[in-house]
């Protein structure tokens, strides 16, 4: 799992690459929660290179969304791979999150 981040138009863009499963979820959880604790309240998960997400990854997305909601922040996704999009649909989470096709499209909505 590789994690990188950048800021653009006040949005914290977190790029996830590889497999987000029980072996890598703690790394992603710690990274995202540290960012939120540091005051980043607009979070865009860019998942174009995210090959795999298990329930451990889905739990983190929910957890992060809840933390942001408590702080009146916002989380969105962009560039989901077909696998990740399919998993979101299977577990009925596609309608729970703002999902955009591209980064540019997502940034307009923050």
């Amino acid at each position: 799992m590789e994690i990188s981040a950048l800021k653009e138009n006040g949005v914290w863009i977190v790029q996830l690459s590889g497999k987000l499963d029980s072996f890598t979820s703690k790394q992603v959880e710690d990274f995202l929660l540290a960012g939120i604790a540091a005051g980043r309240e607009k979070v865009l998960i860019e998942a174009g290179q995210l090959e795999y997400v298990s329930s451990a990854g889905l739990r983190i997305f929910y957890l992060v969304a809840q933390r942001l909601e408590e702080r009146h922040g916002k989380m969105a996704f962009c560039a989901l791979t077909p696998h990740v999009r399919r998993v979101f649909e299977i577990v009925d989470m596609a309608s729970e999150f703002a999902i955009h096709t591209t980064r540019a499209e997502a940034l307009k909505e923050f």
């Binding site: 497999k19 703690k26 795999y52 329930s55 451990a56 889905l58 739990r59 998993v87 577990v91 989470m93």
Partner: protein
């Protein structure tokens, strides 16, 4: 070894009502409209094509499982309302003559796991021996309280059978005939215990009433180790994943998490149990389909990285029997 399911509902009994039965009947007749159903074979073929919700109900009774070894040793897990029917069946054998010794493992003492005990007929036959085992120290107290005169007409001290209680501890093995039993504490309000029951080289794990609060490999490791290589994992799948994330600390889990844990633990068959009483059979059919779809996605991506065999997924329902 064989497991028979006598009750799979979670939290409270949830019998099928007439209106629900009528709706099923109507849906079946609608599908039968253009089918030829003249012969027994045609009827069977038609039924085989129907979804789970039209041919089954998960059943209204709360948790009770019966495990039988190939040599005839019997262990009962939990005394939910499913135990009432099991009790009547046992009465046709040795229990009806006061000659039965019945080991009973309690996962915990919440109502839905003990409320069938006062209605378990072998309890009222002199000569029967009921051996209650569990990880909690207050097994006797919980069953006595349930049969207090304020709640039930017969008190535990008045029953004809001999009832004994024994606390089990993790890392010790209980031998019941050919069956070897080990327990593992699960995360649930007040604690619940999973049981790993082994005959020869085949194991079955019953792990109901369990929440997995963190899903990273380190947090899951104790459970994955306990479930490792089991032929069957009977798993608390009370909520959809979406509902589960809204019910933190309620002490339950989801079939989707069950799939991931089975993949990590190299389990051959995942059986969903402890169904939420607000979920209909139709919803359970949808959950089964989604769990299967999630498994397909997971196995396709995981590409044999962790596991060495296929994973089957089965909806738990009253009357289900699985040979192990």
């Amino acid at each position: 070894m064989k497991i028979r399911f006598w009750g799979v509902q979670g939290s409270t009994p949830n019998p099928l009502a007439s209106a629900q039965f009528h709706a099923k009947l109507k849906a079946i007749l609608r599908r039968a409209h253009h089918c030829s159903l003249q012969t027994e074979e045609e009827i069977e073929a038609f039924l085989a094509e129907l979804p789970f919700a039209l041919t089954h109900t998960t059943g209204g009774n709360t948790t009770c499982f019966e495990i039988l070894s190939s040599g005839g040793a019997r262990v009962i897990v939990d005394m939910g309302t499913g135990a009432r029917k099991l009790g009547w069946e046992l009465m046709r054998g040795e229990a009806g003559e006061g000659k039965a010794t019945l080991p009973i493992l309690l996962t915990h003492c919440h109502w839905d796991h003990i409320m069938g005990f006062p209605f378990f007929m072998p309890l009222y036959v002199a000569g029967n021996k009921l051996q209650i085992y569990g990880g909690h120290s207050y097994l006797r107290e919980a069953l006595e309280r349930q049969m207090h005169p304020h709640s039930f007409p017969v008190q535990l001290e008045e029953v004809e059978a001999r009832v004994t209680f024994e606390q089990l501890f993790e890392d010790e093995e209980l031998a019941l005939g050919e069956l070897k039993v080990r327990c593992k504490r699960l995360q649930h309000p007040g604690g619940s215990y999973a049981y790993r029951i082994t005959e020869g080289d085949k194991s079955l794990v019953i792990a109901t009433d369990a929440e997995y609060k963190a899903l990273d490999a380190e947090a899951l490791r104790p459970f994955v180790e306990f479930y490792q290589n089991a032929e069957v994992l009977v798993f608390d799948a009370q909520y959809t994943l979406k509902d589960l994330f809204q019910k933190i600390d309620w002490g339950h889990s989801s079939s989707i998490i069950g799939v991931d844990i089975c993949l990590l633990a190299n389990v051959a068959k995942l059986v969903l149990t402890h169904h939420d009483p607000t979920y209909s059979d139709e919803m359970m059919t949808a959950i089964l389909g989604k769990t299967e779809a999630f498994k397909q996605e997971a196995m396709q991506q995981e590409q044999g990285q962790y596991r060495r065999r296929q994973l089957g997924i089965v909806m738990g329902y009253e009357g289900l029997e699985i040979e192990i």
